[in-house]
Symmetry: C4
Subunit: 499 residues, 4 copies
């Protein structure tokens, strides 16, 4: 079917009985796919007989149609002569967001990584829901942050801290900060340049980016955007079809990627309710209680929609196979227990990431920082420490250089930051990411001086008090009656109520 | 007195001196009962000389009049020819609730068990008060929930979790989830079909329902609604008149009930203030401080009104008697200490439920989950573990499959859920309960995969960190003055205040 | 000076240079006392040359003028023939409070002791400030309450609890509850009958009242209001002039008081800021920063104003002297440490009250309940336990029978309640206090049944888990930036925003 | 260039190309300094060609221009004849603040040190930002306060506390309170008399002031304002140019300063975001995201702007040099660990201040109070205790005399208060500081009596329970869904909603 298809022909297939859509100038027959679409049929039907590219683009990885629609449903290419250039209508929502963009805080008023979330309203609701959501009650995502604040500093004084050096070496690659960019999916939801913002900023600042399997930009686009010899890591979701995975991994190695971070905490993606709720917003407020229709999986959200290929059978038995197909460092991302840390070490991996996937997988899982204590203790019984052949990384909840230093004091080699940089480019593009690096650099300089550590090796266990780290106490529930009757103390009052 | 009574005759007995009412077409003389009515005389007098069925129905168990009014006050049957079909007036409140029902979130937008409470406004205030209330300061009801969130997961990785199986066997009955429906009273307060919603949904999903003594539907109605061989349990409040209890238990066994859960934490029902306060709403805002009238027990609430038959003398001495009248499994529901757990084991019971009655009895009692630790430890010293002849169940505060898995990891055989399903059918009938099962099923699949457990037996103690479970710390009370003067940090500001 | 003084003569002394006032038909020259008045001169000057009885009455103990004004300033009696009966003007404030009184919740809607504080607005601001205030940051007053909620129950089951008995014996006196009325000052601030409300209610319910030194009613008025043989205790502030104290104590013994509770935690009354701030309200909003006037002690509040006679030199050396002047039981009220508990025991006292004066003295002192643990342990090393000759009482923060049972389980003989009863009569007079007793009785019945204790002796240490009692943790201060960016999870939404 | 310069000439240099300003009647060419100005160029350009004295004065230490502007840019003196006395325009903001000043609570209504912050609105936003800010997430500043409230009192009874004495000796100087005035910078931001308010109040009350290096008033102004023999301490930031430091220290010694407190926790000043954000307020809301301009360090805030001279190379090697240049006591201010405390002792210092710089340096550093426990334990192993030759001080978070007593009980010699006195004079000048002393005196009298300590030596470790001091627990994050559905208990309701 090589002849070009006029848009008028496409327009004839505009309902549930026969539904064609155009994406990137190709015509697809999605009639039979309507009920399978993880995002629901409604959103497709909105574009039935029309060009869906703009809606499709940011929330699907590059090969989504290829992976999900049989080749016989690829009808052909649209006839460009029939395409009427549509002047995109500017909606009220577009105007609102543009006004917000114009009113963003100037970049030099962004003083910390939290500030990049201040302009969260510049994100589309869908992007915000996808990026910010975590699983179940979102306990772990908050615990990740809180854990750092239960570790307290024991700073040393009167050391000559004229020059302090926070650069380090991560898996053989030089890094200007003891921090790498952790993989997060679907960057184009936040910014048209998607993950390239990170690649370009990382190049300028000597930072290592971990490329996500579920990037909005294709792997090669990202590598092409990198500078020669710019170190890159690759995050891997393992496909049920191992040949696809093998091809992907070996292609990455050939293109110079230095280390392979195999995600092991996601045999199935978590239920992220904020993300799932977005579905219903798209479907409009008119939806009704539809009895008997409950088998339609309407509630999957973006996360699950894009992840059906991930293989839940992945197991320790697969590690030797990975070793056989690549010479890259192999790191397991998502380890939580000393038992598994030791297994990873014994399986010949080069490291592990203590991670709970940013709180997006198993809720009420402990934080990576808390797990670090037990895991370092277990690894010390198995080999030298620090172990030149086995690195321990931590991610989750990091917002400050002081967080990073705490993890390092407790034994981490470096720390991954995901959402922090994601929000940075969503709000300010590449410059936002660079500003984030600058802020961290300033914070490292200050904190290391104040801590009395002149380089990363001097950040030692004695510099922190982690005794409260496991004290994630629950409270006695509030005594509402007493609190209602108790009248809080107040300050002295001004004499003029109008002031 | 077999002749039919015309409604006009009934209408002649319409005041405190002579008060007749009609319930389910029978005429009763309640004149002398007015002051004994646990719900107060006012509400009866409102229907003096009239048909009270509609008000009576949802808040009285089927045999309430039979149990409380001497037979000589049963005047006879109303003459149906004299009954004028009243067109029920639709009140503003009815309209408001109907509008709420119409606007309920569609069932597929209900993503978790909490969501069934979102439409709590569709309940009548009386139903909400009765269902949601707990005793005294409602500390324990909240602690029940909080306890689960003080247990943290230690998930294992790289196990082949392609297929995971969360079904189990509860007291010899197959269950598609490691969860049973715990008994809750007065289902018709929430939905006209009452407990039958549960029976029907349980049948379709392979779940076991525990029938409450204080159901709105009669025991036989419920059993009749069940499918052949559908496993059912029975919750028992023991009557002061043991013959009534014996008849009830033996009838249940004959009808195929598999296990008897004797409630042992309710020699007297708790004071539930939300429920008690509803009394005064019914009595109108015109009530005055009535001096000298304080012996009228106006403040009992629904809970105490329906429970006066319960025997506070029930003791360990009664257990052999139960053993003698039935071959059903005997389970003690409401055990809190290792001492009593061992006594139950030694008394030949088949199991115990670690429960505090959903926080409705002794306030500031510890949660079942916390008690589980000590109790399992004690039982291990008495026999094999897990013990095929003695099961430990937990209920209270369960909202997520992850809660269930934590209890199982710590030694529970299965977990009971009461309010969760109660709210599900109150808002959405049988379909709501089925949706609840679906949600739990999805959560079990996800959580077990993420935990690395392929079946219930693989959910082991090492998978949880319960070290913070007993850390129900109180706080240093807030420093109100400092908090008043302290100005919290803010984020970077947008430049246009109007945004 | 025995001739009667006409009011016209009094009216001539109406300014700072010569200031007379009438109180209870006596004329006093307070000119020189103006600057010494702990309540400030302004409030006196308001009544200069006039009758001040109504303002004076509720906030001064009966002998206040006698104690503070030299006899030569007692001018004489007012000539009754010259007194014009003034029709008391009803102010807006009076009307507001009367409307509140009329709208009070009916007494049978008062379900717990907290509810007596619901109508706190019926109190005058001065009364509320005096009664509710505590010292410094009011940490201890709240800790007193919170401490009870850090002790958890371990209820026993299957004991025949048909009849439960919560009566006990306190220092040889029968008490219908394991509770006594602790002394609180200035009852007339709350209700015109002051402490007599307590005396009368106690008589009817078999409760023991502790008479406060600083009662609004005189000691004899209270004893006169008691029934024959009604047991009474006496709380004692020791006067710098021991003869006054001796006379007072021996008079009390002669009138049949059973035990003497010597306050030992108040060598100086605490700074209670809510109370102190009331001064400025009285002085009007027009007050200015008065430079150079700072030696005028304007900020003492009611509490300090009435307590200047208390002897800060009171010490262990005085105990034998007390033993020598009375045969009443001697109890030290306000013990906080095992060291002092043992000293009291060795000094031959008959008991101690673990109390911090309701949080009104040393702030951030530990709660009596927490101190109970250490103190009981120390006393056990000194003699039999329970010790028939030495009782340990606790007060502070008690609102529920369950609180009392926790203290008893941990070793207390009985528990004192002060504010609870004070608010009860302030809002509802004697009937309020009786209602409070009824509520406690109901709560004891329920809690003892649910706990499995048939009498006070069966309330044993094993029934509570006090392991969290000392866990008064502070928090990691809130992460305001994270909390600002974190968007809390919400429930499913109704479809119609107007609902 | 000694001839006088007319203002008209200055006015010709009024833009970025040539920018002159007048400060204290001197003319400076700041053209080349514009981009280096830590406060940004914009604020200078506002005064280009004009007199900037009023804006300059409060936020620059006396020698700021001298230190930063090369001598050749000092153009000369302005011709006084050309200066037109400008009638200062009274802005709306001036009026608002004046109205606030007029409405301040009268000084005798200030009951505690917090109250001095009630009128914080009388401060300029810049002053408030500079004074109140702390570093990063401001965790430590709040922890400093909270730590005191995790230490609980164990008061002793029945000691004759007629006379209590809270005076003490600090480094050989008599002090009427166990408290000294800790150094805080830039006093004129808060009050035109700046630090002199402290000097004068200290003189009247027998309190010791620590003079800050970064005072708004010059060192000599302060010493000149002191009374003969009024003891003074000196806080020292060590200059990169040691000769400047030597001159400063030796001058101080010559002028009679008793002890030198060398700040050792500030090799670089902390990032204080509230302070930093003030920059943008000054620059106006019109600022835009200025691409490519990110190297302009606009975000330094006042703190960093004034501190560039501080030497980050200061180390233990410098201590002997200090010993060689002065005979004053040498105290290290900012010690946090037992290791460093012992090093200080062994280096021959006379004491240490356990301080985290009021939370303004390393955030999540532990509080001085918490460090006190370990540090006293370590020092006890090195010499006699208390050690007459080595004093331990604490500062940070102190608001109450009870806080001071806790520190003393745990081993401190005395306690420093900074912000408390700073706010006192900012709101009320010298009289405010005196009122603060009075309040503390009252609190010491009360607390020592209630504690049973007659003098500072009797304030012993047994009087406090510090077991919860290290329990800075984190919480299980809130369960937002449960909290949304849970309906808090309420009190009994009044019958008339209008009340």
């Amino acid at each position: 079917m090589s002849s070009l298809i006029p848009t008028s022909t496409v327009a004839e297939h505009a309902d549930r009985d026969s539904c064609w859509i155009i994406v990137h100038s190709k015509v697809y027959d999605v009639t039979e796919f309507l009920d399978e679409h993880p995002g629901g049929s409604k959103i497709i039907l909105k574009y039935a007989g029309k060009d869906a590219t703009e809606a499709y683009e940011p929330i699907h990885p590059p090969n989504a149609i290829l992976d999900n629609l049989p080749i016989e449903k690829h009808i052909g290419s649209v006839d460009p002569n029939t395409v009427v250039k549509v002047v995109k209508e500017i909606t009220e929502e577009d105007k609102r967001r543009q006004a917000l963009m114009d009113a963003r805080p100037p970049l030099d008023e962004i003083l910390n990584l939290h500030d990049f979330e201040a302009p969260k309203t510049v994100l589309t609701p869908k992007a915000w829901a996808y990026y910010s959501s975590a699983s179940d009650d979102e306990i772990t995502i908050r615990e990740n942050r809180a854990a750092f604040q239960r570790v307290w500093f024991r700073p040393r004084i009167l050391r000559d801290v004229t020059s302090v050096d926070w650069s380090t070496n991560i898996l053989g690659c030089k890094s200007s900060l003891p921090v790498y960019i952790s993989a997060t999916a679907l960057g184009k939801l936040g910014h048209p340049d998607g993950e390239l913002n990170l690649t370009r900023a990382a190049a300028k600042h000597g930072i290592i980016q971990m490329i996500p399997t579920l990037a909005s930009c294709s792997f090669d686009e990202i590598v092409d955007a990198a500078q020669p010899n710019q170190p890159l890591f690759l995050q891997l979701y393992v496909n049920k079809d191992r040949e696809i995975t093998k091809k992907y991994v070996q292609h990455a190695e050939k293109r110079g990627v230095r280390a392979l971070f195999i995600t092991v905490d996601a045999p199935q993606l978590g239920r992220r309710e904020k993300d799932m709720r977005m579905k219903f917003v798209d479907d409009g407020a008119g939806a009704k209680v539809q009895e008997g229709q409950k088998d339609v999986k309407k509630d999957q959200g973006v996360a699950r929609a894009i992840s059906s290929f991930i293989d839940p059978s992945l197991s320790w038995k697969d590690i030797p196979w990975f070793r056989s197909i690549t010479n890259m460092h192999i790191i397991l991302k998502g380890v939580s227990t000393p038992e598994d840390a030791v297994l990873a070490y014994e399986a010949g991996c080069q490291g592990i990431v203590l991670s709970n996937h940013g709180g997006r997988q198993l809720d009420t899982a402990r934080s990576g920082l808390e797990n670090l204590i037990d895991i370092v203790a277990a690894l010390k019984t198995k080999g030298p420490w620090p172990n030149p052949n086995f690195s321990v990384f931590v991610d989750g909840g990091v917002r400050r250089a002081s967080d990073v230093l705490k993890a390092i004091a407790l034994g981490a080699s470096a720390v991954g930051i995901g959402r922090g940089f994601l929000y940075a480019f969503s709000s300010y593009g590449q410059e936002g990411v660079e500003r984030a690096f600058d802020i961290l650099r300033d914070e490292f300089e200050m904190n290391m001086r104040l801590l009395g550590a002149r380089n990363i090796r001097e950040v030692v266990p004695d510099m922190v008090d982690a005794s409260a780290l496991s004290a994630h106490a629950g409270l006695t529930p509030t005594d509402n009656l007493f609190n209602t009757t108790y009248q809080p103390l107040g300050l002295a009052q001004f004499k003029n109520a109008k002031l």
